[in-house]
Symmetry: C2
Subunit: 551 residues, 2 copies
């Protein structure tokens, strides 16, 4: 067959080359701050990006302004990279935000009014699910009843968790839907609160909760889509434009893909599968490509090596100070951990291992040391939380460039608990941010949202001060482990991107990266910790598109 | 903020509008045939498509040729739409094609040579899996042994199914991997063929097959990717450019998406989920959008109402002629069928119900009739196979515009078996293609590959003749149920697209549809059935891109 190229194509191409690009945008007159390619702070005043939303130029005052198609005046505001949260649970953020929160109710009447309003505002929800009630706080002197709930919502089951997670309160429809009657016996370890006739009165305690809990329907697909939309809203509200999703389940992934396919995916998600089954089903033989213009990628797996400090599940080298019989429990044997890490590394998947206690952290580091002999190259082994690291183990962290993915707000929330669990003599390696940097490890900062709020400015404030929102403790908790402001900014931007193999794509305001930026009302490198916590996010841009503007 | 649009953008836009499109292609001098918008045959001589691979013009000899960027000379060859197979199992096509086929081996030596060659050609496969051997055909007079297999493949387990599916032959590594030894007892209903010392000799019969079968590893992700690539190769080889995938499992879907994400998805897949779990996880609250430029969509669910005629699982109104005690067994109660169809229809998912026996078909039609009152609009209820329809039920098929998704090659393969199962007096509604059209139902033709070859030209030959490849039976089996050539072509093109809500996207060579076409060596509307079966597919184009060319 004969193939002829018409002259017309060549003619149009020549014209296109001669003309300027289609839609270059300059955001000028900003007070810009970013981490640069060398890891240092760089200041600038103008940012140019192209129609693909990629940065083409970063300008200082004296640079000549290019000819562009759109020109925006930043009015001198502070521009910083979009914040990256290196450890969140995206769908849980959404589901938590969609759940009725009764923790601030002051009386039964107050709670009932809130429940009624929530049910009316959510007519499509088949069950009304809530949490946080506490009849002691209300001064009620008794448990609330199903009848009281029925008076405000009777057309749908209502099921509300008590503040301490040890009891639930339901309306009559919830109880009858579950088939619980006066004849239902109390289960072992649980109690059905009953009325004078022995019928369920509304509240179920401890193991009795499951009598109704088991019929609460799982989320419908539309609930998942809604929760994801809500999660994006929450994250964007804090100026978070990218996250590492720690433990993506199969239906989470397909929810993200539905959003991507429909053009509803706004934030960038570095996904770590919750299991090898998910990882192999989704990614298959190697990490996925970056999808939707660098918005989504599954690059690794989340593994759990121990539990948490609060519940004494964290695996410690020595017994708990407040429970000398307990040292926590590793969830994997050393051989299991190595096998799983090896299985991931074999197909070039990254591993992110949850390790909180010093024994767990030592074990991950030992595994990394061994595996590094077989799996050379750029592996970026991650430890999630890395809360308590025995100082003797820190060296290995540096030697292998391990990424410590840490959550500054956990330190301020947990410090009294950590003191109780560890005692006064074992706090040297507790939340050791600066030590990680000093030994040559890599930091990535995050929130563990919804466990803590996904607020990177509160996180930066904690990171540079080790004091909480109320200024406690004065001078900071082990202030030698604070990081400086530049390190804090890097932890939430360039270093968090690096931790997800995303450097060069986003996390810095440099040519070639995506134009993900915030306009904020103060400079994070100058604000006091208290002022940092008050940062107002004025605009959020992702890939050169403004996705949110404060009112 | 101030937004200014530079003059440059407007200037370039004006130029672009004045210039011709970027890369229009004209394939001229073809003998083109398609079904048109009115369902009639349309002939043409030139096809123009744009850079998106969409048809912009369909030209006859006398039409003025437009100015284009590429011009190809079809040299008078026949151009027809890419064939659409309305019922396949995509991944199974690939896995079947990747399995060593020993069914044509003539001796043990021949088989061993093929096994050795296959193992050498597939060094990455952890197990060598095959099927089709038959020691009787070899004139061996005994079962083959593990030792004979070891002599050709000893580094990997080998596991080969006998032609009748009732025995498997393994090498020593397969047997030891499974932990089967001389001490392993025969399971109930099974037998381990043993040597003089009682050790497993290599062949396992009936229920003993699972002793080794249970350790055969499931496909790895790379196996799935390979199988999918192979399936595409097989389908394109037959000129099939689009398929309905009947019963997509979760890992099938993610395999298709990996291919789409990596630019390896060539064929178009109309996917019907294998379960509500898959449907809800993937598609969520409604059918997915068309992904990858109309290459992939999950729009419905496959349900099973009965089994097959051969195994007497098809649900019949009267007892089987050759087994008066059996009427088959419906797999769903009438209430279950309606509930499942309703659950799908509620979220605008299409249902494709497997129904083979006349009782099953009557039941689906009754369900459609009831559901049509609640679910109005364009539902396109599908019956898959629809092999035996009682003539009294045909009217309902027409009344509700039900789509009968039928496989012409099943008729030619099954006719003797169907005569045995149904007897001479109940064949009026057997494979009733023309009756479906006559009563106003809609046909969609397919192959059920890999059960039958995915060859649409063999299918068309059967559809217009009801004779098989050897010309049997003379004059055709119930020739009053043949369809004409135009209907046969429509069944594999426009009607198969309609059956998957894809009309306007592909299936016809008309402006606005994707340029999916074949160049073939003969005209399907003129060739004899025998000649049709010999059709050579010279080129396959999908979305304006040539994806395959015969040597």
């Amino acid at each position: 067959m004969l193939r002829t190229v018409s002259a017309a194509l060549a003619a149009v191409s020549a014209l296109a080359l001669a003309a300027p690009a289609w839609a270059d945008t300059l955001v000028d007159n900003v007070d810009g701050v970013t981490i640069d390619a060398a890891g240092k702070v760089k200041r600038f005043n103008g940012l140019v990006f192209d129609e693909d939303g990629k940065i083409t130029q970063v300008l200082t005052r004296s640079d000549k302004r290019p000819q562009v198609d759109y020109r925006l005046d930043g009015e001198g505001r502070v521009m910083i990279p979009g914040m990256i949260d290196a450890h969140v649970h995206v769908m849980d953020i959404g589901f938590a935000a969609l759940t009725l929160d009764l923790s601030n109710t002051t009386s039964l009447e107050d709670a009932l009014a809130k429940i009624k309003a929530f049910a009316e505002a959510n007519p499509g929800r088949p069950w009304i699910i809530g949490r946080g009630w506490n009849q002691e706080k209300w001064g009620l002197g008794r448990f609330p009843t199903a009848a009281e709930l029925d008076a405000v919502v009777s057309d749908r089951p209502v099921w509300l968790e008590r503040a301490d997670n040890h009891a639930n309160w339901g309306n009559t429809l919830a109880i009858t839907t579950a088939g619980v009657t006066a004849k239902t016996p109390d289960p072992e370890g649980g109690k059905i609160i009953r009325d004078a006739k022995g019928a369920p009165a509304g509240v179920f305690v401890d193991y009795a909760v499951q009598l109704v809990g088991k019929v609460v329907p799982p989320p419908r697909p539309e609930d998942r889509d809604l929760a994801f939309a809500k999660a994006q809203e929450v994250l964007l509200g804090y100026g978070v434009t990218a996250v590492a999703d720690m433990g993506t389940k199969m239906p989470d992934w397909t929810t993200y893909r539905r959003a991507g396919d429909a053009g509803r995916l706004q934030i960038r998600i570095m996904s770590y599968a919750n299991s090898f089954e998910t990882l192999e089903t989704v990614a298959g033989p190697e990490p996925t490509v970056w999808l939707y213009d660098d918005k989504l990628r599954m690059g690794g797996i989340k593994l759990y090596l121990d539990g948490a400090l609060g519940s004494r599940g964290a695996s410690l080298k020595a017994p708990y100070h407040d429970d000398p019989g307990a040292k926590g429990l590793p969830l994997l044997t050393p051989a299991q951990l190595r096998n799983l890490m090896s299985r991931a590394a074999m197909d070039n998947f990254q591993t992110a291992v949850h390790a909180i206690g010093d024994a767990a952290n030592a074990e991950v580091l030992a595994a990394v040391e061994e595996l590094s002999e077989s799996y050379t190259g750029d592996r970026r082994w991650r430890i999630e939380h890395a809360q308590i690291i025995d100082p003797v183990d820190l060296g290995r962290l540096g030697k292998h460039g391990v990424i410590a993915s840490m959550q500054p707000l956990h330190q301020t929330s947990d410090r009294l608990m950590a003191e109780a669990r560890l005692g006064p003599d074992r706090l040297d390696g507790a939340y050791p941010w600066r030590s990680v940097v000093t030994v040559g490890g890599r930091l990535a900062f995050g929130s563990d949202a919804p466990v803590e709020p996904a607020d990177p400015f509160a996180g930066m404030a904690a990171a540079i001060s080790r004091v909480d929102a109320s200024g406690q403790p004065f001078g900071g908790w082990f202030p030698e482990e604070t990081v400086n402001r530049e390190q804090a900014l890097a932890g939430y931007t360039s270093d968090a991107a690096f931790a997800g193999f995303a450097e060069g794509r986003f996390g810095r305001l440099l040519p070639g990266e995506r134009a993900d930026f915030l306009l904020v009302d103060r400079d994070p490198l100058f604000a006091s910790p208290e002022a940092l916590r008050e940062t107002k996010v004025l605009q959020v841009w992702i890939g050169g598109v403004k996705v949110r503007e404060a009112e």
